[in-house]
Symmetry: C2
Amino acid sequence: MTDETKSFGIRQGEVAADLPPTFDASLYYIGRIRTPWKRREECPKNARESDAVCTIELDQRWAEGLKGVESCTHLVVLYWMDRSRRDLVLQAPRHYGEQRGTFALRSPARPNPIALSIVRLHRLEDAKLEVIGLDCLDGTPLLDLKPYFPSTDAVPDAVVGWHAARKR
Amino acid sequence: MTDETKSFGIRQGEVAADLPPTFDASLYYIGRIRTPWKRREECPKNARESDAVCTIELDQRWAEGLKGVESCTHLVVLYWMDRSRRDLVLQAPRHYGEQRGTFALRSPARPNPIALSIVRLHRLEDAKLEVIGLDCLDGTPLLDLKPYFPSTDAVPDAVVGWHAARKR
C-alpha cells in the first residue's frame, strides 16, 4: 500500500494494515486509572516528566489480589488505550517526524493497544493504589498489575538505537 | 469466601473470584513464539535461568511494523498465557508455599493472562526475531512488541519486599 491509497485520518508517512477478520481472545477491565489529565494534549509526553500522584482504582471483585503488593516499591501497570486505532504498521509521530514501525515505538496506536508503565507505589489502601509514573488519560481502563522484579525487568544499559542517534 | 467452598482444581490457600459476566475488549494474536519447551514442566522457572534463543514469528500482516526495531538491543514482549485460569485472586505457588495476591505474583493465572518479558534481540530477519530471555511454552500467542527504554523501564533498585524477605 502507498500513501496515496490511505484513508482519511492517516498522516503522511503512515501506513495501515487490513485488520484480521476476527478477534482471538478477550479482556476484562479490572479497574480504572484516575489522573489529572482529561484531554490527550494535557498528558505529559512521558511519565518521567511528571511527579503527579495518580490513583488506580481496582474493582472490589479483585481486591484480595493485592495481598503482598504493599511490600513492592514498584509495579508494572498494564492498561488499555481504548481510543487508539489498531491498524497502523508505520507511523510518523509529530515530535519525531521520521517514519518508523509500530513495534519500534511506544505509541498507543498498535494492533493490541496495551500500554505498559513502571510506577512507584506511593500508598495502598483498600482497593486504591496511589502511584507515581503514569501519563495516561483520566478514566483509562486497567488490565493488570504485576510486581516489578529488577532481576528480570531492569536492563539499565539497553539502547533504542534510533532514539539515541536522534539525541546526538 | 473460605477455602472450604472452593471448587475442584484449586489448591489449599487459593481463592477464586466470580468472573465478570461479559468481556470489555478484544485481542488479536499477531504471531507465535517458538521455544524449546513443549510442556509446562520443561519451562525454565524464570527467564534468566536460560540462554535459549527463542524465535518470535510475527504475522506477515504486521511485518512492516518492525522498521526501526533492528536498532533496539532489548524489547518488551507481551504474550497471552492462553491455558491459564483467570479467576484466582489468592494463590499459593508450590515453590513459595505462602498465600499471596495475584497482583503480587508473576503467575500466569490472572484476570487478563498477559505475560511480560524483557528480551535481548539477537537477530531480526524478515518477520522473525531471535531473542534471548523467554520462558514460555512453544506456540504461545504473541500480543505486542515494544522498544525497551531504560529511562522509563529500568528501575534497578526496586524491591519486591515479600520476595527479598524470603531470601534472607
